[in-house]
Assembly symmetry: C2
Homo-oligomer: 118 residues x 2
DNA sequence: CTAGAAGTACGATAGCTGTCAAACTTTGAT
DNA sequence: ATCAAAGTTTGACAGCTATCGTACTTCTAG
């Protein structure tokens, strides 16, 4: 293994990582209004590590999950890269907070308390 | 005028002003994802004063506007009261910021810059 | 080289919601 | 008393989107 690098950082296989400043608030809110997508963001935030697509606990099929990951990626919320056959997901927290300060905190905080106290 | 008070503060005519802590993030995001509703919030914030329903610049019919105001009210974003035949709208900024800190700022800031620079 | 694992792409579908027009209610002015 | 102004309510409708299953691609392991 690792004969010519096992991490494809920005390979052809992953399209479209927008500059966050080019992302509109409309896009961001459309991304975050879906509970499944918020769950992805929250799990990613709580993990304090990158997580592969199959590593999330989600109540939907694989193809639907793929759809949600694309929406999040195009809204600038996550960055994706391959490790082998696994597609990894990273939260773009710092860049995102610069443009939409407080938003991620509100989402993560609310979703965590709704799980704990709800 | 003013024979027995011309402002109905919490009269029968206005239902359902939720305690903001009883409002879910889901409700709030569903309210804010609509551009017309965000425009209402932004205009209200920029006005630094309460505004009657007819006082907004909106690209929809009166009945649709009524619909949007209800969504915003039920999401805890605005408070409504009557003055004569006019239904006034107040932004519940302080209470809202306590529970969802930063959210309103992001919305107002983004919508204002998209008007100025977009 | 062949399976299997991990995702993606593609239609198809069902439910939600933003929209309008029309009819109605309530208040204030004349 | 009437009439207009300001909103609401009610149906109806169109477009969007979250969902699924199936087929396809790509990489890794044996």
């Amino acid at each position: 293994m690792s004969y010519h690098g096992d991490v494809d950082t920005d390979a052809d296989r992953i399209p479209d990582h927008p500059d966050i400043r080019a992302v509109t608030l409309q896009q961001v809110l459309e991304a975050l209004v879906d509970p499944v997508r918020r769950s992805i963001v929250t799990q990613l935030s709580d993990a304090h590590a990158d997580v592969k697509c199959g590593g999330f606990d989600l109540p939907v099929s694989k193809s639907t999950a793929t759809h949600h990951f694309r929406i999040l990626r195009e809204a600038g919320l996550i960055r994706q890269y391959y490790v082998g056959t696994s597609r990894m997901n990273a939260l773009r927290r710092n860049e995102f907070d610069d443009v939409f300060p407080g938003l991620l905190n509100v989402v993560v905080a609310a979703d965590n308390t709704s799980l704990t106290h709800g």
